[in-house]
């Protein structure tokens, strides 16, 4: 494990920001700390960076307990949520700052900054000031600035939050490529599950100051360990009385079941396929979602959300249909 947190506790004025947080991160991985706002993910990142100090527990980077080592000596690069670019310095000076502080020789700095500017594709903008850049460009500069002193660990706090939706998708792919090109171990904080799934090698899901689950995006999607994770990752319907659904009257003591839309198949009267079993349902609502239709189906008193391809015959509200369910996730909390 390159980065390891052991039983970290942190409170702010009685609020438990971190409540026994432990996890480890492999060298070279790109890891997402995913959770809703207030789940304590940013606090974890800030503690790894040395911007906040845990009440108890150990933070280990590269086999060294770093609790008493100031952030500047931990070999990390940090990208702030709003980038925190130095507003009164040019892009060039921003990127050069970390090297200057380390008293690196001028020509070396110049070469390194040029190299980084090329890497982020902003060779011509070294003389500009941060407020003359677009949001996406600022993020690139913040990234280059953090990378300039060759950190062993890159920390990014909500790297895409301040960018508008359209550019965000481009930047995600860009950042992923950059990080794998540089090969630096990276942790980024996000509240956007789609972002985490798309960018990260591994996801750490946090909620209320605790780690809920750690795993690869696919693993977390298919095998959510807690009700919270099941709800938070991917679209889903929660059912409290799953026993009313046929085929699933398991006698396990479960308080809630989560059903993914992809695991539901609908059979309308005009469909080519038909099925003999299944459950009887009524279409309550249909809405167009761009690439597919979202259908709300009522089975007894349960309303489920299902997806349907556009090529399939359309369903109308009030139509009686057959429903089959492939998989349910059961939780006993």
């Amino acid at each position: 494990m390159y980065v390891e947190l052991k039983h970290i506790y942190k409170t702010f004025d009685g609020f438990h920001a971190s409540d026994d947080v432990s996890f480890g991160i492999q060298k070279g991985n790109l890891v997402a700390l995913l959770g809703p706002s207030g789940s304590g993910k940013t606090t974890i990142l800030r503690m790894i960076a040395g911007l906040d100090v845990p009440n108890s527990g150990e933070i280990i980077i590269d086999n060294v307990v770093v609790n008493d080592i100031p952030g500047s000596k931990r070999g990390i690069g940090f990208v702030f949520q709003n980038y925190a670019l130095f507003r009164y310095m040019t892009v060039f000076d921003n990127i050069a700052f970390g090297l200057e502080v380390q008293k690196v020789k001028k020509p070396v700095i110049k070469n390194r900054v040029k190299e980084l500017l090329k890497l982020i594709g902003l060779e011509d903008l070294g003389g500009r000031y941060p407020n003359q850049l677009s949001g996406g460009q600022r993020q690139r500069v913040a990234f280059a600035r953090a990378l300039a002193p060759n950190p062993h660990l890159l920390l990014l706090d909500e790297p895409f939050a301040a960018i508008d939706a359209k550019v965000r998708k481009e930047l995600r792919t860009w950042l992923r490529e950059m990080i794998s090109q540089v090969g630096v171990t990276s942790i980024f904080v996000t509240h956007d599950q789609e972002e985490a799934i798309e960018v990260a090698d591994e996801i750490i899901v946090t909620n209320k100051g605790k780690v809920e689950q750690i795993g690869t995006p696919i693993d977390i999607y298919h095998n959510p360990k807690t009700l919270f994770v099941a709800q938070f990752i991917g679209q889903s319907t929660i059912i409290n009385n799953h026993r009313t659904l046929k085929d699933f009257n398991v006698n396990e003591d479960c308080s809630a079941a989560v059903l993914r839309p992809r695991n539901i198949k609908l059979f309308g009267k005009n469909d080519a396929d038909s099925i003999t079993g299944g459950q009887n349902g009524t279409v309550v609502d249909t809405s167009f979602r761009g690439d597919y239709m979202e259908i709300k189906v009522k089975i007894d008193d349960i309303v489920l959300i299902a997806f349907r391809d556009l090529e399939e015959p359309s369903l109308s509200v009030g139509e009686k249909i057959k429903v089959t369910i492939k998989q349910l996730h059961l939780f006993s909390e």
Binding site: L51, G71, F86, Y88, F97, Q102
Partner: protein, 302 residues
Amino acid sequence: MANKKAFHKKESRSKPLPAETDTLTEISKVIEQKHNTGSKKVEICLIVISLLFLFVMLLLPLLVVVISALKDGFTAYMNAVTDSYTIKALTLTILATVIAVVINTVFGIFAAWTISKYHFRGKQFLVSLIDIPFAISPVIAGLIFILTFGNIGWAKGLADLLGTKIVFAVPGVVIATIFVTFPFISREILPVLNAQGKDEEEAAALMGASGFKIFRKITFPHIKWALLYGIILCSARAMGEFGAVSVLSGRLRGKTTTLPLHVEILYNEFNTTAAFAVSSILVILAVLILIARNIVEYKKKQ
């Protein structure tokens, strides 16, 4: 190259935007105009009231100073202004103002930096303590230094030890000036630093920059206009301070009298023309300060 293209695209995309906002403001202007046509009378009425109020309350006092100063002719005016006591008073006023500005600048920067960049207990309390001189009558400000360093003061021995008199002497005048202008500069800087946040400084600290380097390279550019603004306000108040200084100076003519005290002495001697002539120096300084203040405020807003 791909980048350049992207950049151009941006520009062309953002072009229609100003036009859009233009039409928007136009629409709102039309609404405003419709809404305001009926209130034109009210508008004129309010403007007239305001101008009249300002004319009587602010402008007339200024005019009265200028006219009374020149009442006995220009020679009498120049005599009063170039009188050796006037020059000495002006020198002391400048001295006290400069020292007050320097000390309060040092304090203002350190205090605002401490309050805005660090997390500690009792921060709000500290802010209130700094504001105390605002809430205190200048006369009381003078009194506390008499009670501290005067004949009955507990720290009189300290002053004697340093070989200086504080009360009824120049140091007293200076210290009173520092006291009454104490919060001015920190008050101007603090809101700017609070609004700026501490991300930039934290980013620099994570890269290992020293506190001084962070201040010089990152924080200072943010506060320079606010600092200048604070210095201007501080100078205005310092050169005009009367209550605190009058209690502490002892009015030793030519030694511990500042310009405002000199004005008072002349006025009480029924030497009215001279009093107004000396006042006119202060009026000119005040107007200059107001102009500087407005220029700096304009720059600050940009």
